[in-house]
């Protein structure tokens, strides 16, 4: 048996010793061994029982995931609360595929999807609508409160929960997210502690206009890697309350910091909860400084490699919404597309365009007249993960444009700013 370095309660030690069965013992061993690497003195209680898992896809090669889930199911083990999970990979109704692509998706790549969803249901999945990378949004409802301790994964969700909601969660890996939700305990280190939430970087924004969230996040992520940045100068555009606009901006900004770097927590001066309470006291004395102006934003934007096989050709597919769009973003994108088409005198977008949002937000949006306006433009709304779509080697022939830096990082998709995407799809500018 693994000899833990941290202090365990009698109950925790008994689990480790196998009193609740061999699978629970292995789960405890994993979590304790993980915490010991970081010098965690003990396990602390998860106070927001609903977990969030990063692994939503029944991709065949993830044999360790399915085999662990099988052991969990066989032992009748469930999470303390329910859990949400990242988006599904397939939606043939709204993201049309040809026969060959369907064959590869359903029979080869995601052949284990149905089986894996059944495994998750047995382990505590919330419901059939629980598939979103932005499950913290109010419509989905897995929304922790300030100070809550979580056992989540999904880099964009963890950074949002820590930074915007003021919850406490380490950048857990897939599997560790589930294990903490089963045990109801996580190791006490890193972002769980006050000290771990202090900023090692002071980032000063000197741009003339609000920088594109996805490029600003990318620049900061690549610079600070896994450290905590304290960002000064954004509140003059975003205000001092987390309203719908700020929510969307910070979601996209955070996702880029986490995927282009490894940021798990950021503070925005005058806006995010801890920055509002503690201000620049959150910045460590030995913090480094990074000044971002318009030239730096442009430098970072120009540095992205183009991975298309034929970069001289126009794009033929556009994904908007990675992470999933907020309700406000569904509305504002629709308004902008409708207005843009009016300007170019067209009825429909000139390139196949797909917007992605959480199933619960899609349901809410579909109940509004604006959804019909969106449909009339030819744009489709789905709840899949665009990254899962691009995993199919047959989709490599698509020249995908996206305003998501996360999708760019993990696929051959080419990044473009929101306005460039808009101009392209309404036929104003050919890309």
């Amino acid at each position: 048996m693994y000899e833990p370095k941290m202090e365990l309660t009698l109950e925790q030690r008994e689990i480790l010793e196998g009193k609740q069965g061999p699978t629970m013992a292995k789960i405890m061993e994993t979590v304790v061994m993980f915490g010991d690497i970081f010098g965690a003195p003990r396990l602390v209680k998860v106070t927001h029982d609903d977990g969030h898992l990063v692994t939503s896809f029944g991709i065949k090669l993830l044999k360790p995931l399915f085999s662990t889930m099988e052991q969990i199911n066989e032992a009748g083990i469930k999470t303390k609360g329910h859990f949400t999970v990242d988006p599904r990979p397939i939606d043939y109704e709204n993201v049309k595929c040809n026969l060959l692509e369907k064959l590869v998706f359903s029979k080869i790549m995601y052949a284990k999807q149905e089986m894996y969803e059944e495994q998750m249901m047995k382990a505590g999945l919330k419901n059939k609508n629980a598939f979103s990378c932005a499950a913290y949004l109010p419509e989905v409802g897995n929304t922790p409160k300030e100070g809550d301790i979580l056992s989540w994964a999904e880099s964009s969700a963890v950074v949002y929960a820590n930074s915007v909601l003021g919850a406490r969660c380490n950048r857990n890996s897939g599997m560790l997210d589930l294990f903490g939700s089963i045990l109801g305990y996580v190791p006490e280190f890193g972002f769980i502690t006050d000290e771990g939430r202090k900023a090692k970087w002071k980032v000063i924004i000197k741009c003339k206009e609000l920088p594109e969230a996805q490029i600003l996040g990318s620049a900061i992520g690549m610079k600070v890697m896994e450290d905590v940045p304290y960002v000064i100068g954004l509140d003059k555009w975003l205000g001092h309350e987390i309203n719908d606009k700020a929510m969307g901006y910070l979601k996209d900004f955070g996702a880029a910091t986490a995927s282009n770097g490894a940021v798990g927590l950021y503070h925005i001066d005058g806006l995010t909860p801890e920055a509002k309470k503690l201000g620049q006291k959150l910045i460590r004395d030995d913090a480094q400084e990074y000044v971002i102006d318009d030239a730096e934003i442009e430098r970072v934007y120009r540095s992205y490699p183009i991975m298309w096989k034929k970069p001289e050709k126009k794009g033929n597919l556009v994904f908007i919404g990675c992470p999933h769009l907020t309700f406000e973003q569904c509305n504002s994108w629709t308004d902008r597309i409708v207005a843009g088409l009016k300007e170019t005198g067209r009825k429909k977008v000139v390139v196949r365009t797909i917007m992605t949002t959480a199933p619960d937000i899609a349901d809410k949006f579909k109940a509004t007249p604006k959804y019909q306006e969106l449909l009339a433009t030819g744009v489709k709304l789905t709840s899949i993960c665009p990254l899962m779509y691009t995993n199919n080697p047959l989709t490599k022939s698509r020249r995908i444009y996206t305003s998501s830096n996360k999708l760019r990082t993990y696929s051959n998709a080419r990044y473009a700013k929101d306005q460039e995407i808009l101009d392209f799809i309404v036929g104003k500018e050919s890309k």
């Binding site: 292995k26 994993t30 061994m33 090669l61 360790p64 994964a153 880099s155 890996s173 490699p305 080697p393």
Partner: protein, 146 residues
């Protein structure tokens, strides 16, 4: 010959070739393509990684500051260890990050993997070691660039 001493996360003795990333190693982006193809070797597919893009890292000592990117990272490390296409050693110049640590622990506990991981080797280690160098790793966390 230059010697460095780090902290043992998962111990073992090993000799072989180094593959060096001076920037954060994006686990998902790097392993994704080879793993999806069920390939026998991993050629790094992270377009942002100027040092290792297109380099074969299977069975080598991956020398890196930390890992970055998606929180699938740990599960990806576990999976490539289970598939037998992982690097033999992960040699971190900084303190190991939470995703890489998860992956090493998952590989050890659930796959009985013999993957080696040593962290805190220091900035000088990463400044010194070059892709293609022969290196020796000892049980006590000593890493020698031969």
């Amino acid at each position: 010959m230059k010697e460095f001493k780090g902290r043992v996360i998962a111990g073992g003795a090993w000799k072989g070739e180094a593959a060096v990333s001076h920037q954060g190693f994006n686990t998902l982006a790097s392993f994704q393509k080879s793993a999806l193809k069920n390939a026998k070797q991993v050629y790094v597919s992270d377009q942002n990684n100027k040092d290792l893009f297109g380099v074969n890292i299977t069975g080598k000592a991956l020398c890196l500051p930390i890992t970055i990117g998606s929180t699938t990272g740990g599960l990806v490390i576990q999976t490539v260890c289970q598939m037998g296409i992982a690097p033999s050693c992960f040699l971190f110049s900084e303190s190991i990050d939470s995703l890489a640590a998860s992956g090493i622990v998952l590989a050890k506990v659930w796959e009985n993997s013999d993957v080696i991981a040593i962290d805190r080797l220091g900035k000088e280690f990463l400044d010194t070691v070059k892709t293609g160098d022969q290196i020796e790793v000892k049980e006590d966390g000593t890493v020698i660039i031969l």
